[in-house]
């Protein structure tokens, strides 16, 4: 019997719950900033120039990387700049972006998708539409959906992740409550693409309204809606699969290898839009929450600034701490003059507080029981701090999903997960360097071997030639002798006949 459980994790209630989860349509922004660098893969190349007029949904940057998706204008207007701007990334670095000034008309480019009767389309057409529409995982990972789907050939189960990855975020909850029909249709499209026999929509048991509205629209026997106990990290793909199917994806493996495909519920709705209407992904729902305002869920165009939607709330005018992403895995940010991108699921606006000062680790091991992966964070911390890459790998650092459960429970307020992401980067670098060294060594060794082999071959060849020459000479000698003998015989014959004649 399945108990829908995985080890570790923490039960955390939504810190700022609201009575009724609505979706507010944000007004059209006056300008948008669209970064060309996506979560994974190479930077897209702009296919518009400054001053060009663009329509909503028009492709403004393309990439040849099959892994990536094109970038679409999210409003109609004029391209005002293509330059480096601050993007929402934990590095705090600038990256090339296309800025568009709105003309206020929001004119859409006209495209046609498969239409409501999508069953006659083949899977590749649909996957193409999904790629062309720029669909990526909207849960926060930003993994391109078409890449995941084109790998899913032998898939038995499709999992739709509606667990809302972190406490406080409500955007998926809002989407399931208000777009249940599109979600269910999206699941049907995904069933068609993957060929899976069944689909499970996973939803946490504190989202009653969302559960009810999905139930109401679901008339497909192949789709089931499964409630899970509310526990943080249940949104992590591998843990969700473990909880739902009792399948443990091996370390370093992919869900697809075990015949499972996972898609976020918001991505599923975006896939519906992409396949039915070939409507590109130009907006998303963002939760704005925190103790400095009353939380809201806003549907907003991509590229609008954080400030644009924070201004829609009743935010107080004290000093604030800002954070993008969830309260656990999110990143603290200094400015709200940054564009909303596809993975911006939540913005926290909190009244400024004193940060906790970290104390020494007392090895209390509160962190191990909450780790969903079963790591020993306290030992990893020791090794990460001393930059002992070998030991870190020994203690399975690379399996860490950086969920921050350990940091959350640490009585010494140590930001463990920061140490881990640093050590992970270090491990990757070292592994890459080791790889390079290995390649160089192999190449050197092969060269040595080749030179040695050439030398030997040449020596053998010489020896063989010598031998052949010798043999030839010996043969020639024999032949000469033979000829001499023959001549001698002939001479003897001639002599004889002469004598006879004489």
């Amino acid at each position: 019997m399945l108990n829908f459980e995985f080890p570790g994790g923490i039960k955390i209630d939504n810190p700022y719950p609201i009575e009724r989860v609505e979706i507010i349509q944000a007004p059209l922004p006056t300008s948008v900033v669209l970064p060309l660098q996506q979560r994974i893969g190479e930077e897209a190349k702009p296919c518009v120039k400054v001053g060009d007029r663009v329509l909503t949904g028009q492709v403004i940057a393309q990439t040849e990387d099959a892994f990536c998706v094109p970038i679409h204008a999210s409003i109609s207007g004029t391209v005002s700049a293509i330059d480096k701007q601050l993007i929402p990334h934990k590095s705090g670095l600038k990256s090339t972006c296309i800025s568009i000034d709105s003309d206020g008309k929001d004119e859409w480019i006209s495209e046609q998708g498969c239409g409501q009767d999508f069953l006659h389309c083949d899977r590749q057409t649909m996957i193409d539409y999904i790629q062309k529409s720029g669909i990526v995982g909207l849960g926060g990972a930003g993994f391109p959906s078409h890449t995941k789907l084109s790998k899913a050939f032998d898939c038995h189960t499709l999992i739709i992740n509606g667990t809302e990855c972190e406490p406080g975020i409500m955007c998926d909850d809002a989407l399931m409550q208000h777009h249940a029909r599109e979600v269910i249709r999206g699941v049907e499209i995904l069933l068609h693409i993957t060929g899976a026999q069944k689909a499970i929509i996973a939803i946490e048991d504190d989202k009653h309204e969302a559960y009810q509205s999905l139930l109401m629209f679901n008339h497909n026997a192949r789709i089931s809606i499964q409630q899970l106990p509310t526990k943080y990290t249940s949104g992590a793909e591998k843990l969700l699969i473990k909880a739902l199917l009792s399948i443990e994806i091996p370390s370093g493996g992919f869900a697809a290898d075990s015949g499972v495909v996972c898609q976020n519920v918001s991505s599923t709705k975006a896939i519906y839009d992409a396949v039915i209407d070939q409507r590109p992904l130009v907006s998303r729902i963002v939760t704005v929450t925190g103790n400095a305002l009353s939380p809201i869920n806003v549907e907003v165009r991509l590229g609008a600034s954080f400030e644009h939607i924070i201004n829609l709330t009743d935010v107080n005018n004290k000093a604030h701490d800002y954070r993008m992403g969830g309260m656990m895995m999110g990143v603290d940010i200094d400015t709200i003059h940054m564009p909303i991108c596809k993975i911006t699921n939540c913005i926290f606006v909190n009244n400024k507080t004193q940060k906790h000062i970290a104390q020494e680790c007392i090895r209390c091991n509160s962190c191990n029981p909450v780790c969903p992966i079963g790591l020993l964070p306290q030992q990893l911390y020791w090794h990460a701090k001393s930059e002992n890459v070998e030991k870190c790998i020994d203690y399975s650092l690379m399996d860490c999903i950086e969920c921050a459960c350990c940091s959350y429970v640490c009585p010494s307020h140590i930001d463990l997960v920061s140490y881990f992401s640093f050590a992970k980067a270090l491990c990757k670098k070292q592994t890459a360097e080791q790889h390079k060294i290995d390649i160089a060594r192999e190449r050197f060794e092969f060269r040595e071997y080749r030179l040695e082999r050439n030398k030997q071959e040449r020596a053998e060849m010489m020896a063989a030639k010598k031998q052949a020459l010798k043999e030839k000479m010996a043969k020639d000698k024999d032949k000469n002798q033979e000829q001499k003998d023959k001549i001698a015989q002939a001479m003897a014959r001639v002599k004889k006949s002469k004598e006879d004649n004489a």
Binding site: F6, P7, I10, K238, L239, K242, E248, I249, P250, S251, G252, G253, M327, M328, H356, I357, Q359, E360, C361, I362, R363, C364, N365, N368, P372, I373, G374, L375, L376, Q378, Q379, Y395, S396, D399, A404, S407, Y408, V409, C410, P411, S412, H413
Partner: protein, 314 residues
């Protein structure tokens, strides 16, 4: 983002609160000496810790206020006899803080339990002072006179209970003639047991080490008594004599020097229990907890390495 649970300073304080009951019982039987030793110990701990932090160029106030030095001092002070001369606890605490903790890098970096390191140091250096306990309740003036060497304490003291038992056993006296159920020791142990249960209930310590520790004591004592029931203490007496409960709930559970993995904690606790009984039975010293804990502290890296929990997907 951090949980609203206890922080490190609060954890240290909770452990100190949990000691109050056992210390009170101890006070009832031995009098003011107990309190004087604790005050002496804590004061010297704070002074020594401040000095060494200053030498190391660290923030003094932050480290002092974490309560760990005070906790070490209290644990050591209640382990030594209530009428030991004042310099015993001062030297012991100084050794514990300097050599047991700060020289390794301060809180969290010490491989040995500092309090037990201090105790072992004292026991080896001053065996007489470390094994002479008061036999009656001492008033504040009596106790302070004894502790500060103003009064000869011969008439007020006797050997420790376990020492007494051992001497009598070695003389060939029958166990039944001895007043084995030393009332004071039993009550003090119950006091610390209740304090330990409080810590368990507040989830400040995990159950693994105390349970395995007590189990180790019982199993080893039973094994020994199978071979020689006349000459050795029965298991139930091991549980209520000496520092058993203090050791099980407050000393072996020191997170810094103990094993951290769930399986490792069971092994660690169990082997301490086993060693305690072996040292009590065959060793030269009456009490074995300090040595058992220190010996097992050494094995912690090994235990931790071989008891890593299963990693997801591996």
């Amino acid at each position: 983002m951090h949980s609203t649970g206890l922080n490190t300073n609060q954890i240290m304080r909770q452990v100190i609160y949990a000691l109050v009951l056992g210390v009170s019982v101890s006070y009832v039987f031995f009098g003011w000496g107990v309190i004087i030793q604790i005050l002496l110990g804590v004061t010297s701990a704070l002074v020594v810790e401040s000095v060494i932090l200053a030498v190391r160029g660290r923030q003094i106030l932050d480290s002092i206020s974490d309560g760990s030095a005070a906790l070490t001092a209290i644990l050591l002070a209640i382990s030594i006899p209530a009428i030991a001369p004042w310099w015993v606890v001062v030297v012991g605490v100084a050794f514990a803080i300097v050599f047991g903790k700060q020289l390794y890098g301060g809180l969290g970096n010490n491989p040995f339990n500092p309090a037990m390191l201090g105790y072992a140091f004292l026991l080896i250096s001053y065996p007489l002072q470390m094994t002479t306990w008061p036999i009656d309740f001492l008033s504040f003036s009596q106790a302070s006179e004894v502790v500060f060497n103003l009064l000869n304490f011969d008439g007020l003291s006797g050997a420790t209970r376990l020492d007494d038992v051992k001497t009598n056993l070695s003389l060939g006296n029958d166990l039944s003639t001895l007043h084995l159920h030393s009332v004071s020791q039993a009550w003090i142990n119950i006091g610390f047991l209740l304090g330990g249960i409080y810590l368990l209930a507040r989830k400040i310590i995990a159950w693994h080490i105390p349970l395995a520790f007590l189990l180790g004591i019982v199993i080893m004592a039973l094994l020994i008594s199978i071979f020689d029931s006349q000459q050795h203490l029965p298991a139930q007496n091991h549980l209520i004599l000496g520092g058993t409960m203090l050791g099980a709930f407050f000393i072996a559970t020191d997170p810094v020097s103990a094993s951290t993995t769930p399986k490792g904690r069971l092994i660690y606790g169990f082997l301490i229990g086993v060693l305690v009984v072996i040292i009590r039975t065959y060793g030269n010293y009456p009490e074995g907890i300090a040595f058992a804990v220190l010996l097992m502290n050494m094995t912690v890296p090994l235990i931790d390495y071989y008891t890593q929990p299963k990693v997801f997907g591996r």
